[in-house]
Symmetry: C2
Subunit: 198 residues, 2 copies
């Protein structure tokens, strides 16, 4: 049987990139092989986080059905935000923090959505629930996702859980939350400025 | 603000009845008031379980929108299996073990679906995750739901989790699993026989 692919949404942001890596890591540790993939180019913010935490970017793919029969969606559920051929494969799990729409399955699946600020917040809880240790770099990536989605806890979607878990992850990742967060957000902003100049 | 109602599907089975009671109990213990309700008559099996574990049946309602603005769905998600006026209220949570279809929200919600044999199996995990003690009668009702949905672990939808959790619940409920299970299933069957004779 082919590998399970873990994919975030089109035009991937830092949550889609980092949550796909983190969840594939959890799956691997639970003995279920899974590969993180992405549906588009990395933005500068995500590149900064991946470089800082010394992690390879997920492999870029254009469609899923020639690769696998089974996928896990993170950070999205709506069909139009997913792989163009998503209807040709089986979605076996969803981990998300968005409204549910344009989504349906023919069989029972694992669907975990919570109204929190970031998918990575939920994935950290899944590490805990499964008693799997979170390693430094994966913690750093989940922290990066939370900082990105909540704009350093300033977005209106931020919940107490995002803040508490963000702080815990910063300890595991051995970074000063505010310093790292501002540098990472700045890395994303710099790029926009640069591309406007170009 | 009106109470949150916790409701199972139309033509309620033992899982819909007992999971609505168990989840409302968990919510109450977490300080969020919630009332279990039902959309139809109790079957004989459910009556047996409620009587055995000395628990009042959920209040029967015909629609939700005159009662509340917010509901939690257990043991179903599809619109046509829910209250006739479900579109007029806000679904704030779903706890279920069925396929996802004919369901959508305008905002992020808590959605917890797992491919296990019974909703009560998931609800027991939620008690554990929230560090809430399960009391004897509620344990007995969750056990009843698992026995009903899995036909005493014999249905093809039964998972290891249903079996493990069923055994734990039997200990808390202080019943011998097989004996209680057969009596409960029989109570349901007797009625079918009787109504055929009548
Ligand atoms: Mn995203
Ligand atoms: Mn996100
Ligand atoms: Mn049911
Ligand atoms: Mn059920």
């Amino acid at each position: 049987m082919s590998n399970v692919l873990v994919l975030g949404h089109k035009n991937p942001d830092t949550d889609s990139i980092c949550s796909s890596i983190a969840y594939a890591t959890l799956k691997d540790k639970l003995g279920e092989q899974a590969e993180p993939v992405r549906l588009g180019e990395l933005n500068e913010e995500s590149k900064y986080a991946l470089k800082y935490f010394q992690t390879k970017a997920p492999r870029m793919i254009s469609g899923v059905s020639e690769e696998t029969e089974r996928v896990i969606l993170v950070d999205h559920n709506e069909k139009q935000q997913s792989a163009i051929d998503i209807d040709k494969v089986k979605v076996i799990e969803v981990i998300d923090h968005h409204r549910i729409a344009n989504f349906e399955t023919s069989e029972p699946i694992y669907y975990r959505a919570e109204p929190v600020g970031c998918t990575a917040t939920i994935i950290y809880k899944l590490f805990l629930e499964n008693n799997v240790t979170v390693e430094k770099n994966v913690a750093g990536l989940m922290l990066s996702a939370i900082i990105s989605d909540t704009l350093l806890f300033k977005s209106p979607t931020t919940t107490n859980q995002d803040i508490e878990i963000g702080k815990e992850l910063a300890k595991i990742a051995k970074v000063e939350l505010e310093d790292y967060g501002l540098s990472m957000l700045e890395a994303g902003t710099n790029y926009s400025d640069k591309s406007m100049e170009e």
